[in-house]
């Protein structure tokens, strides 16, 4: 499953940039690009859990896993590998 595209899509829909020409690369830290509120943070965690049927543990809840598309993909990769889910 191409979940990278799904994540990009979610971020794009939920983060408003200053102008339409700005784009986010998979390595950009969207928490630094703009002010991110608690609601967005919670929505992002909910999105990942529901979309990919995962439970994010406390020790995984940090900016190091959630701040860029690439970090998020890496987290989901490793969690899916642990579960042994074949998609």
């Amino acid at each position: 499953m191409d979940y990278r595209a799904e994540i990009r899509n979610f971020i794009g829909q939920n983060i408003s940039l200053d102008n339409d020409d700005m784009t986010i690369s998979d390595d950009d830290n969207y928490f630094e690009l703009r002010f991110v509120n608690s609601l967005f943070a919670m929505q992002l965690v909910d999105f990942v859990e529901q979309k990919f049927n995962l439970t994010i543990e406390n020790d995984e809840l940090g900016l190091e896993n959630f701040s860029t598309v690439n970090n998020l993909v890496a987290l989901i990769d490793s969690k899916i590998a642990c579960k042994g889910v074949v998609s």
């Binding site: 408003s16 002010f35 900016l63």
Partner: protein, 345 residues
């Protein structure tokens, strides 16, 4: 079952509940005796009210207007869908917990249908409506300025949301049009009732779920070892009231954030993180380490996420859901441009 939370919203049926008769059969329905006063009293207590009725929407709204009752109800659900669906819509729109809703209907079928889907909704048969004012969950300990104008504040919010939907462009630009002013100040005595109310009513962005009563808060307010901060938010549509609270214990080498909460009404405005940033900056200025208490209440994961995403790390935990977080104060998020932050502390 744990302790029962206060009811924040009463959802009313219409036919045979607010009035006698069935509107779709005859326009000539009459109000239940005492119902207007009952609704008005609940309103003044700061309890929100809405409607879940299987009815013709326009007819029903017209009738409510005729009775002078329409303005009391926010997010009314008047259509032919299941009432469990209506309750869910109301719950989402107001953004409160399912367990803080009380539903009144004359039909056992409807009460059960709702109960079946939403186990935590308090379902009351309308034959008992005259006893509602004595219901323990409908009697908040204090009626504050914020409770009296609560409905008005939610109605302001509906206007805001409408403006937001109609606004074409990035939501940050929209937020900038609101002229938000966020003020942080030491709690005065006049703030304490509202502060107690906040500790009882706030669930999602509440770091410990601990409640404090007036006397305890008054002691903290006067203690040299503590700072009790109150936050208020206003914008061009009006004041959101006192919506945030923080309690800091000041120690020789560190500050400990013992309580931190932010009303669910303002979550989407980003002010929770503003208060955290403010406290971080102050701790840094005073050369103190910053610790923060967090307790998993089952309802406050958003606070957990907020701490961790703001750069707090777990310092210790007792494996029973109690955590102490620590922030190294190296990277502190700055305030968003669209909020004018004023500190009187």
């Amino acid at each position: 079952m744990g302790k029962q939370v206060e009811v924040k919203c009463v959802v009313w049926d219409l036919d045979h509940t607010i009035w006698d008769g069935v509107l779709i059969e005859s326009n000539d329905v009459s109000l239940k005796p005492g119902i207007v006063q009952l609704i008005d009293t609940l309103d003044k207590r700061g309890i929100l009210q809405s409607i879940a009725s299987k009815n013709d929407h326009d007819l029903a709204m017209e009738k409510l207007k005729e009775f002078g009752l329409d303005h009391y109800f926010i997010y009314p659900e008047i259509h032919w869908n299941a009432k469990s669906y209506s309750i869910e819509q109301i719950q989402k729109n107001i953004n409160i917990g399912m367990d803080s809703i009380l539903f009144v209907d004359d039909q056992e079928f409807e009460l059960e249908e709702v109960k079946n889907t939403h186990k935590t909704v308090d379902c009351v048969n309308s034959s008992l409506y005259e006893t509602l004012l004595d219901h323990p969950r409908l009697n908040p300990r204090f009626i504050t300025i914020d409770s009296v104008r609560r409905r008005k504040m939610y109605q302001d919010d509906i206007i805001r949301k409408q403006a937001e939907t109609e606004y074409r462009g990035p939501s940050e630009q929209f937020l900038a049009t609101l002229n938000m002013k966020f003020s942080i100040a030491y709690a005065g005595q006049e703030d304490l009732k509202r502060a107690e109310e906040l500790t009882v009513r706030t669930n999602q962005l509440n770091a410990t779920g601990k409640t404090f009563n007036y006397e305890e808060l008054d002691q903290f307010r006067q203690s040299d070892a503590h700072q009790l901060l109150v936050c208020e938010l206003e914008d061009k549509y009006g004041s959101y009231g006192k919506i945030g609270l923080a309690l800091i214990e000041q120690n020789a080498d560190h500050w400990r954030l013992e309580m931190m909460l932010m009303s669910c009404r303002v979550i989407s405005r980003g002010v929770g993180t503003v208060l955290l940033s403010y406290i971080m900056n102050e701790a840094k200025k005073h050369n103190k380490k910053l610790l923060a208490d967090f307790r998993d209440t089952g309802r406050n994961r958003m606070m957990n996420v907020s701490f961790r995403f703001s750069g707090f790390k777990e310092h210790s935990s007792d494996d029973q859901g109690n955590y102490v977080f620590e922030h190294d104060l190296e990277k502190i998020m700055s305030y968003p441009d669209y909020i004018d932050v004023r500190c009187h502390a």
